[in-house]
């Protein structure tokens, strides 16, 4: 393995990404080739964490642009500091200068407020630019972003063109609520992050919530694999697993039984409907599957649990 890839892998391990070569290789390539990295996957699999790891690997700043519907170029790029402009106009009142001169003055760089994109290209040291949930922005913004990512320069009518001092490292994430354009895809390296396997999630739980005993951690991990097979409004991700583990700890639970699960369903499911569905239709089967797994004996593995999940699914 390339030494830099294993270094990134170690950094990832610190974030709970255990031994994930796919992610490490993609991050490394994105750095080495200076190509934006597009990360797709379900919500809650830790896409954003990857950008943080990249920043740590580089010792660079992380600049985050959170996308939302209606995000436009102005909000993402720059804005004029209107308060400062107003104040300046007042302070320079009664001067000799013409309107045109004063106008040029207040629309100069001193009055410019950098938003994430402008900020990212004007840093002395290249930062990591995280464009989070690009799928939530509209296609016009996507086209605009593509332009910025191609040229790494922006033009501001009042000032002129600002060219990047350094090329930022770019990470884009998408939850796939809409398909991204082909042009953007082709410009990026691509990384798909799936829900973790049983083994991986177990390590994450152990690493992040060390107070959990081994037995409970395994039950939690297995339960997550089973729950992710159920059709829900929002399938719980790794963040929910960790919250759940912490909640069980807070309630001094050392194993999963009906009472423990019922008490903590609210932590695991963000939609009330999901909690209701699981409590009413699935809880018995979940506990039964766990009991079967216990009887089959340890060690538990992804294959073993996947088989149990298949049986669970088949019974519906």
């Amino acid at each position: 393995m390339h030494p830099e890839i294993s270094r990134i892998q170690n950094l990832l391990a610190g974030q709970g990404y255990i031994a994930d070569r796919t992610i490490a290789t993609s991050v490394y390539l994105s750095i080495a080739l200076r190509k934006p990295l597009l990360i797709e996957g379900a919500a809650g699999v830790g896409k954003t964490e990857v950008a943080k790891v990249m920043a740590r690997a580089l010792g660079a700043d992380l600049i985050r642009l959170q996308c939302y519907e209606g995000l436009d170029a102005t909000t993402a790029l720059y804005e004029w500091n209107y308060q400062k402009q107003l104040l300046h106009i007042r302070l320079s009142e009664g001067g000799e200068r013409s309107v045109a001169e004063r106008e040029a003055e207040i629309f100069s760089e001193a009055f410019l407020l950098s938003r994430p994109l402008l900020d990212a290209i004007t840093r002395e040291a290249a930062p990591v630019l995280l464009v989070d949930e690009i799928d939530r922005a509209d296609t016009e913004f996507e086209a605009f972003l593509l332009e910025v990512l191609s040229d790494f320069q922006v033009s501001i009518p009042e000032i002129g063109t600002i060219t990047a001092k350094t090329t930022p490292y770019v990470v884009l994430t998408s939850n796939r609520t809409r398909e991204l354009g082909d042009a953007l895809r082709r410009r990026c390296l691509y990384l798909w992050i799936d829900y973790p396997s049983f083994e991986k999630e177990l390590e994450i739980v152990r690493g992040r919530v060390p107070a959990v005993n081994g037995h409970l951690a395994e039950q939690i991990g297995a339960c997550m694999q089973l729950i992710r097979r159920i059709r829900l409004e929002k399938t719980p991700g790794v963040a929910e697993t960790l919250d759940w583990s912490a909640a069980l700890m807070a309630l001094h639970r050392d194993h999963l039984d009906r009472e423990a699960v019922e008490e903590t369903l609210g932590v695991l499911f963000k939609h009330q409907d999901d909690a209701t569905t699981v409590r009413a239709q699935w809880l018995d089967q979940l506990l039964e599957s766990l009991a079967t797994l216990e009887r089959e004996g340890r060690p538990w593995s992804q294959e073993l649990i996947a088989r149990a999940a298949d049986r669970l699914q088949a019974r519906r």
Partner: protein, 396 residues
């Protein structure tokens, strides 16, 4: 390498899928591999191949898994693309356990060192122009022309049933329309103050703000485009289809309606008649080839060329009503569908035959069109339409 041997090597590459001693330099093999991916439908061109080479020179190509991950990150940009890539990778470079036998594959040369321009130059040298025809046989599986299609007789609709169907379809259309425009509304936070212009204006008054200038965010409404098959194979349904299209257009604003068989006609204007009978008369007069054969692909292409720019955008829902029984060229249909999907927000295909026992979307037209359809649903009776409505309700 002399051209002849090069060609021969490639031909054997496609012929024998299992044991394949890939020889020659890594660059040629990577380019070949990229061309294979392109034939399988990935958007991989010389630029991507050059990127792949650049990427390979940054990793250890002796490590097969690393090479695999590297090429995949560069060349497969999507989950579906990754699946295609995986299959092609093992096929091209040999199965994992054959690692030792494969030569010239990643794992053969210790390092590769090319920079950007060099990479592109070498790729362009290798990237022969015969790739579009798929010279080495990535052929579409042979298709047996017409498999017997079971048809179900729908002419027996009662007037009551027709009315009810119409009501359900209108509900569906409303749901689609309001859902999208609700999203548009949420994005629009009333009037926006245009500070930049306000500030400029104030300058002329010594910094006194006399007037707040505002700007409006453009409110985009959902548009529905109906493309309705009125060819012979759909004859039984035509009466009922036109009726519900009529109802739809009157219930939901911003509907554009087209009918097609061998050609395409826009009937939005004709359907605007207050009286359905008058509307039907006018349509019958204006549509020349009612109940002829079908050229779906050609009709769609005509639609895209003549009306696409005006009616298609990312808020447009396209509803195609057809049995997919195309007598035209299949690849025309496929390109047209791909373009339609790209340019519209959603493509819904309602197929009156879908629920008939024994019917599978086997007719060639339907088969190539399916991958580009967001929702594929039967539209043969009330229950199927109700299900579609419930489906849309869940998707909301």
């Amino acid at each position: 390498m002399e051209p002849g041997t090069h060609r021969a090597r490639r031909r054997s590459a496609a012929g024998a899928p299992v044991t394949r001693a890939r020889r020659g330099d890594l660059v040629a093999n990577v380019v070949d591999f990229c061309r294979l991916l392109r034939r399988r439908g990935l958007s991989v061109g010389p630029m991507e191949a050059a990127d792949a080479l650049r990427a390979l020179s940054a990793v250890k190509v002796t490590d097969r898994h690393e090479t695999y991950l590297t090429l995949r990150a560069v060349l497969a940009s999507g989950q579906d693309a990754q699946r295609i890539f995986d299959e092609a990778f093992w096929e091209f470079w040999g199965a994992p356990q054959r690692e030792v036998e494969t030569r010239g594959a990643p794992g053969d040369e210790g390092t590769l060192s090319v920079d950007g321009q060099q990479a592109l130059d070498r790729v362009l040298l290798e990237w022969h122009d015969d790739d579009e025809t798929g010279g080495e046989g990535e052929q579409i599986p042979a298709y047996s022309p017409v498999e017997a299609l079971t048809r179900k007789d729908f002419s027996a609709f009662t007037a009551d049933e027709l009315n009810e169907i119409t009501a359900v379809v209108v509900a569906i259309a409303r749901r689609v329309a309001t859902r999208l425009s609700r999203r548009a509304k949420a994005a629009r936070r009333g009037h926006l103050v245009d500070l930049r212009r306000t500030m400029r204006a104030s300058l002329r008054r010594g910094g006194e703000i006399m007037e707040i200038l505002r700007r409006e965010r453009r409110l985009q409404k959902t548009r529905i485009v109906l493309l309705c098959d009125v060819s012979g194979s759909m004859d039984l349904y035509s009466r009922f289809l036109i009726q519900f299209v009529y109802a739809l257009q009157h219930a939901v604003g911003r509907v554009e309606t087209f009918v097609f068989s061998t050609g395409l006609s826009r009937i939005t204007g004709s359907l605007a008649h207050e009286d359905l009978r008058a509307a039907l008369d006018e349509i019958a007069r204006r549509v020349p080839d009612w109940s002829g054969g079908t050229k779906i692909g050609r009709s769609l292409r005509r639609f895209l060329a003549d009306h696409g720019a005006r009616v298609l955008d990312d808020r447009t829902v396209v509803i195609i009503i057809s049995d997919g029984w195309d007598t035209g060229e299949v690849d025309v249909l496929e390109t047209a569908m791909a373009e339609l999907q790209r340019r519209a927000a959603k493509v819904i295909w309602l197929n009156p035959l879908l629920a008939s026992p024994g019917y599978e979307p086997i007719c060639q037209g339907m088969r190539v069109a399916l991958p580009y359809v967001d929702i594929f649903a039967p539209a043969h009776n009330l229950e199927s339409l109700r299900r579609l409505e419930r489906y849309l309700a869940r998707a909301t």
